[in-house]
């Protein structure tokens, strides 16, 4: 009897799970969908109470309004992209050699070096804001994309090094020995043999560096004290506080959509790299 009952019970359980899954998908995606729909309402409709879930008429006016917001959306997106690009470059330039050195050589005091590099991950950068601000203003790196990129590199470097060290360690010794026997220098070995093999690790480093930098708020809030240098998150706070005390709700949601779109696209395209990176960083 139980044999006969079981499939039906399993199937009913499966329906229940499916229903809960669909429910969760709806809950999680609802805010983003609502934000998108608000962003394509005409500005007065988006700001008029009582609100409606669906737009009653469509308009791109909210996007047009942030295109011309102060220095213009293009400037802010450009700043964010430049800072993120520099952050990616710095993270790779520092973490690839460091990962190579730590994984492939018997460095004296290797454990200590690795600990120092990772300890900076334990220290909350929020507690170093004051000295960092003073340092950056001393060397002329406030209100500078280079300065903010250095700060973002600081946040992302320990994780990048950890990831690159793991990537280099994952490569079998024989690959390297063949080159060493041929008398190749370590730099040649790195370039010709290792780099192609650790490429997935480098993609992961770049991906995390982009997302951290594009989204980072507090550092940009403190360092970018010149409106022309604002990144997208800082621009959004300007849109939200609005002119003359009234909030431009439609414009705010348009800027929210602009700020989340690159992250969503990159994540959906490179999900595999993202998950490997996340799990190797957190679980090990």
């Amino acid at each position: 009897m139980s044999m006969a009952l079981r499939p039906r019970r399993v199937r009913r359980g499966e329906y229940l799970v499916a229903a809960i899954c669909v429910g969760m998908i709806t809950i999680m995606i609802w805010p983003i969908v609502m934000s998108f729909l608000a962003s394509i309402k005409p500005p007065d409709e988006a700001s008029r109470p009582p609100p409606h879930y669906l737009p009653q008429s469509l308009s791109l006016e909210n996007y047009r309004s942030i295109l011309t917001y102060h220095a213009g959306l293009a400037v802010y997106v450009g700043n964010s992209l430049a800072v993120a690009g520099l952050t990616i470059v710095f993270c790779l330039v520092l973490s690839v050699p460091a990962g190579y050195g730590l994984a492939r050589f018997d460095i004296p005091g290797k454990e200590v070096i690795f600990l120092i590099l990772l300890a900076s991950m334990m220290l909350p950068f929020q507690a170093l804001l004051v000295p960092l601000y003073l340092l950056f203003s001393h060397i002329g790196l406030t209100a500078s994309k280079l300065g903010l990129a250095i700060l973002h590199t600081m946040l992302q470097l320990p994780f990048s090094i950890y990831l690159m060290r793991n990537s280099f360690e994952g490569i079998p010794k024989e690959m390297e020995e063949a080159a060493v026997v041929d008398g190749a220098t370590s730099l040649f070995t790195l370039r010709r043999i290792f780099l192609p093999l650790v490429m997935p690790g480098m993609v992961t480093v770049a991906l995390f560096a982009f997302i951290t930098s594009w989204n980072e708020f507090l550092g940009a809030l403190i360092l970018m004290n010149d409106e022309k240098q604002f990144t997208v998150p800082i621009m959004m706070t300007g849109v939200s506080s609005g002119n003359f005390g009234s909030v431009n709700w439609g414009g705010l949601q348009a800027s929210v959509i602009v700020s989340i779109l690159p992250c969503l696209i990159i994540y959906l395209l490179l999900q595999r790299y993202y998950m490997t990176g996340l799990l190797s960083g957190a679980v090990k």
Partner: protein
Amino acid sequence: MSRRSRNRWVGLVYTTPALAFVSVFVLWPLCHVLWLSLTSRSLLGGGEFIGFDNYTRAFADKSFWQALEFTLTYTAYITPILLVLNLALALLTAADTPLRRLTRTVIFLPVVIGLASSSLLWYWLFDQQVGLFNKLLVDLGILTEPMIWFRKAASAQVAVTISVVWKVVGFGMILMVAGIQAISNDIIEASRIDGASSFLRVRRIVIPLAMRSIVMATVISVIGSMLAFDQFYLMTKGGPRGQTFTSVYWVFQNGFARFELGYSSALSVILMVIITSATALQLWLSRKGSKA
């Protein structure tokens, strides 16, 4: 032998750029913040050595203690909420079917968007006049009329918590999914044949074996909440009446709104000590737990 020792120094050369970077941008600021905390330095310049005055001031500063207490309360109640949801969602989606994979992907989406973006998105959803979350709660009969979430500290904290849970719940879920998937199928099958109920299976097998990921999710949630800033800066602005200032927010407020860099540094040092010891304690407990 000579080849080996040459190798050692070559390896060091490769790590030098990263070490130099960390020395200039982490170790030096670390030393500097310790020194600054002993001075009366202001953002406008000047300042002199004043010994431990900033620290005695911090211990007498009611607002600082209030911010610290608020941060700890926030941490103490968002962390269990997250853990329970993390685990429930992980159990729901751990098996590899297309629908479950899709669910996982969607639940994870908010993790990759910025905390500033999600805070401003929810700030709008919670608005009393145009907020659709308010409207939804009214339409579902949970509220009789739209409420002003940010007028009282308690409801402001609930609002921030809802938005942050939405934003980060997928992170811990993924960690736990990885933990659950690493459990060998044989163990689960064996328990099923032995007739263990699903509740028993979760409590006696899944949770103990996925303990590492659960601990990791806890540590990350605790550190993240103790350092909370963006969500409160953007949604409550520390209000009403300064009741929702977090520790980092208070450091920021003293340093960059009141320009008291010396005092702000002392608060930073206290904060750093608290966070570092909390992290160390949790990691130590988890190591002890996994050995037992």
